[in-house]
Symmetry: D2
């Protein structure tokens, strides 16, 4: 009646050791030597590494944006995720202006209905802080949502003002929630964009040039200052540059409850990718934009020295052929976002562990343990430990994989990592003890993924 | 027909030397040895130091604020200034909402009419940036105004949003003007103030506690980031704390055109002065608020190492007996501002030069040469050099002075420096070659002060 | 034949969960639910936390210093350690000048012989780098020693010059070893001490005043710079002040292989403790000296934000009544060092976890998992995981303990923490599966502790 | 009997104005309008700028080094200096080991005898601090020497240890002197050089690669820390990189009496110049070595924001054809040093003022006023002010000049700036009122330059 993974090498955020893993009722019941008994279902992991399934806390599936929707829904997005070794994600539920948060959550629950392959939770992005909504924040934890998100950019659509940000940080703190921010100064960016367009500067590179790093560092510093003043927990998403990272570090050095993530693409690409010809640069249009090589170096060091806690994807896919193409003559119309939900773990493993930036335990921490703990999934997701959900991925660290849009599982028509080869591939994934993928084959049914009610945090 | 100051020791921002100073037509015509001729009016400066008259670029005379007006008009304010060795100031002309800048300037010109004793200019504080006002900015230099001011605090009254700040920085840059900012996050402060009052925390100390240094550093960083992005000149007024100063220094180290000032009171008082009993703390209520001893140390070092360029007063006087008293039961009603126009130079000399923080030349730079140069008065005000206006103050560096409200010349009923004794006193002041004060006696007529049309800057 | 700890709550550096722990052959063979079988030896941990035994990587037992020996030998020192929850330590083996490293190790092995209660390893401190000794470094790993230590202070006794430091860093790097430094500028300190004594400044406070933090930060920066240039692994011991910590952080932010520790006493005491009357301040004389409250705050934040990796003791005990008393009339003769091997874990738990600085998992990391990993004991010590030595301590987090010299187990006649009360006490300790202490009673024989041959690191 | 410079535009460190300059007895007696009288010698400066002659506080003429002597003596070196607009320099008098400082000064006085064209002073570089020499330091001011220099690099020749550095800083402080340091870690560099040579890495680029910036920043931090601890004045010569500059800034921000200079070549060249073919890179071999473009940017910003106080040359010329050639097969034998005494002012003016980094006043401060003041020549050299020596240079800011070894005046056979064109040329130089050069023609006799006994400083 049990499932036992035998002969593998288990990796947690701090240990690597040979052990079997026993699973009962979807949860890990033991980690030890010689656990297989007669009657057990055996998964032989000989020569493989047994890692916790990835936790991606920054995704946008079926999200309305730029007059369209991100091109992955919970079916295709989840398939891509789990093929890449990710078994849990937390998606952004965006409050439509005028709507209650409860209604927004209802809409997002419906998106997942019948499609989910992996387990999922929601962050609620607040865009319209009426007095009613301010009160409603405190009700979110009982609905399983313990994080909110605020945009300091995207003027006139998602952007909130400082009054809203400050009040939300305070309210979230009191409710046992963590506040996430997209930190860029949207007012200044809006003007720079308008001016660029007026000057006829309409190609994708101007997306980066109108969102300079100072405006990210500034907004990061602003959110951090508010968090310090309020002693409120804060999570800065998609940090891209040295200066913004420095703001997070300074706050942490003063004992503030502040954490930061970066995303896969900021480690592998730079501003210059936006200059690729034939409008191809549009594929790399995301916000904040790609930066410089020295910023990449600072981010890698930050992942290693633990000043960055999490590596997520900000998976926000728009097709090149149709969706990105809308901005052909005007970069401000290019939907902002890049795909990456499938590549995250393999790319980080290949370049991060393979490249000597950090060890396998740190890889596990960045991709699974830390994000789970920070967002109220400690004890449930993100580790190979007794009592945790048996979300387990077997990795073959000798196998190679070359990324290409053709074989990727997202609904999108390109990958940023086209033709890049990595060593280390997830070959089997279990969620709550059930095999979901095996050697690239889907073994589970859409709808098997479950909503995660997360614990209070901070 | 000439006036010659003989036997004195001349001090400029970089030199100290024995020389006579000849004055013709209100301007310095020569600095040299044995300049006195027959028929000249002789001023014997034996044993005295001959310094350029002080330039105070941050004052608020007859300014409407908190439902009242600052208690010094151009008569009493100028008298206090010149008794303290200051012969030029630049006052803030505040745009009333809905008004044009030209109308605001007209109002301010009228305030000075017939009252001025010292020369004066105006910064225009923009509070309502309509498209018309945005266009109007470029017309200011031809009206002799080459600096604008924006408030990032004082929600719902003076505060502007980031769109306004960014546009103004850009417009001012293009017009050859410098932008000044009051850097505090007004949104967050407003909430903190409301919450304090709701909790019954109504005494003056809560003025400081609801305006924590992080919110000043944040706003400073925000303005600096915008200035960097735009390559626009920026002047951060009244820097009070180490963290805000660091933002200015970081920008300067990257080559940005950013400068900072601090004000006299931040060097001598701390937050704890707000806790003085019998509501006396209200006398020290100003924004940003007083900070800590370590901030004082950072400011002194900044004045010495030239990361702070200017020492000004932010003279903004409200009487204790009536005006400050309005906030007896609610600190948010206490008019924000402290006096200091008379004490600035003597206090800075006594503690700065006397205390070994810097030399007399640096004192001249901080109080006269640098502010004049930064605000378009280079070649006219702020130095003892040929062709400059003969705004000259003789200092007796052996004379002592004790500050007390009784003998001060401001219309206010208190001084922060009550009972403090300094060594080094201005004993004679000339403006454009005319004696205005001598040994504490006024020698000129109100109305003799002139408006200064300033040159473009940046 | 197995031992099973049942009903406890297991804590690792990243997880806390309910599980039994099975032990076979001195090693952990399984962590899981319901592991107890018939015939097993059962340890009931109901209501207790099951933590890895502490690993203290900075101790000085029976060490010759200041013309005497530290007053704890491997018997009393180990007893104090294990009573405090520490089951492994790495002691400093000091090369006598003129001696080979092998001879020094022989001497240190003899010190442990027949006395050891807990497992132990050695760092070799190099004081005399002859060409032969330089060659000998590469032979240390095969003797189970994979770390060396260099003193940048203690002029004319332990101090090495920069040539030695640089060569050792390089040699150690090539041999798979990590280099530790005591970072203070000994040349400058020696002069300051002489001058103080010449001026008659002989009381304990002058110990701190002649070792200012700048000289620690300087030396830290020097060692870090060398490590960066050589890409050599570096571990900075006993960081005491913000400025030194900043040097470590800056290096880590550039991707250098640099780590830092602080020690218990720097978190709880300040320079002012050296001014305690009746020469009592001498009890707090250690190097680097105690600092200021703001340094304490920086260290606590560093432990939380992971810029400090380890909390160790620098246990270096000298009796007050006789050994410290030698410096009664001259602080430079006071033996440098303080006790703490017994208090470390309880104090850090009480104030760190109890005081809200970090959680229990971080406590485990700082006191066991991280030091074990950094010093070549990963997979063996420092965690509750399959295959690890069963060095396990049961903690009763509700029990209180008050420190007092009378009941402490060290041979020393005082404790810095006299009268301090903490909540959270280790009530049972196993080493390699054997019970060593239970409720304050020793259950094992001296001589049962084993030497640890450590793996290569870096 | 007077000389009067008429019709020019006078520039000081803080003012620019139209005025005549009268000279009597070699000193400036007046600056004013219409100063020319009958019988005066008139110099018409119409269309010209009237600047103080340059003060170069870092030169090495006829200095023994690397088994040879720098190729400019006081005749050729002074000619080159004054042709470039420099009228005062302070040269390094190097104590031979075993010698007294007085004897070293005697040697250096002899070098200047009969050759000097410009005024000169000496810094004494201490290389051998015997107890006698330590005492002798206090006698230097009465010999007109108020600055000492210490080398932290050049192992086994010039390098001193930390004990020497610390004692000298203290002794100099007490004697009213300033201490200068060459800040690089010579111990580490010596090993890196040996290892490079052993690996066959012998070309000039390895000069830079074996002197990495971390080792300069380290040594800078070390000297700065000592200066802070002792409250001793410190001047860090030839700062080349951002990290070293940051150390100086941090100290200044804490109020320390610390100043820094950079040198011309660090602003115009990078490490890559050492890779020029045909051994030409050897021409750029100096210590510290050339760095990166980002370091150049930091230095330019430092010159502008006043964190760097002085721009000097470190003129230390060795001929390419013979002297540099000694290191053809081994970079460690290449004499360290580059020429620049003639180019300094024109290059800094052309690129600094012409390039928009700062204004003409700042140029005057960096090249004349600040170095004179810092080294005890305030009131005598470095400004156009009454009582100052009439060391005056007329600049034609419209004239162009192209540097080439053929027309340069140094005895060296190359210039780093070969073929570079600048706008702004010194066309006439007076020293103490006497014309020394006019339109490139020498008008004075060798021997006319005078030794400068400098005042105490700090």
């Amino acid at each position: 009646m049990s499932t036992v993974i035998i002969n593998g090498t288990v990796v947690t955020a701090t240990e690597t050791f040979r052990a079997d893993v026993r699973i009962d009722g979807g949860k890990i019941s033991a980690v030890g030597l010689n656990l297989a008994g007669s009657g057990d279902t055996i998964i032989d992991a000989v020569g493989k590494y047994v890692l916790p399934g990835g936790v991606d806390v920054h995704t946008h599936l079926s999200m309305p944006s730029f007059g369209t929707f991100t091109c992955d829904d919970y079916a295709s997005g989840h398939l891509a995720a789990v093929m890449g070794g990710t078994t849990t994600h937390i998606d952004f539920c965006i409050q439509p202006k005028g709507s209650s948060l409860a209604d927004a959550l209802k809409t997002w629950h419906a998106k997942a209905e019948g499609k989910a392959l992996i387990d999922y939770g929601f962050h609620v992005a607040i865009t319209d802080l009426t007095p009613e909504v301010l009160q409603e924040i405190a009700t979110l934890p009982e609905q399983g949502v313990t994080s909110i998100k605020l945009f300091m950019a995207y003027k006139d659509t998602l952007q909130v003002d400082d009054t809203t940000l400050f009040r939300c940080l305070e309210q979230a703190r009191d409710a046992g929630m963590i506040t996430m921010v997209h930190a860029e100064n949207g007012d200044a960016i809006e003007i720079l964009m308008q001016e660029a367009v007026e000057r006829g500067q309409t190609t994708p590179i101007y997306h980066a040039l109108t969102r300079p790093p100072q405006l990210e560092a500034e907004a990061t510093g602003r959110a951090v200052a508010m968090a310090e003043v309020l002693d409120a927990p804060l999570y800065v998403v998609h940090i891209t540059c040295k200066e913004a990272l420095d703001r997070v570090k300074d706050a942490r050095a003063k004992g503030a409850r502040v954490w930061g993530e970066t995303c896969t693409h900021y480690l592998f690409f730079t501003k210059s990718d936006l200059e690729r010809g034939e409008f191809e640069g549009a594929k790399w249009v995301c916000s904040p934009p790609l930066r410089e090589l020295e910023d990449q170096a600072a981010l890698w060091a930050g992942l290693a020295d633990q000043s960055l806690s999490v590596l997520s994807t900000d998976h926000c896919p728009f097709t090149f052929a149709t969706q990105k193409m809308v901005g052909r003559d005007n970069f401000t119309l290019i939907p902002n976002g890049v795909p990456g939900i499938e590549e995250r773990m393999m790319m980080l493993h290949g370049a991060g562990v393979g490249g000597g930036h950090f060890d396998l335990e740190r890889f596990v921490s960045l991709t699974a343990t830390a994000p789970a703990r920070l967002f109220g999934l400690g004890g449930v997701k993100g580790s190979i430990a007794v009592g945790y959900d048996a979300d387990i991925v077997l990795w073959d660290m000798t196998q190679e994989h070359t990324f290409t849009a053709d074989t990727n599982h997202s609904a999108i028509d390109y990958t940023l990592y086209e033709g890049m080869k990595v060593t280390g591939v997830p070959v089997l994934a279990l969620i709550r003890g059930e095999v979901v993928t095996e050697h690239g084959q889907l073994k589970a049914q859409h709808g098997s993924g479950q909503f995660l009610a997360r614990a209070r945090v901070g």
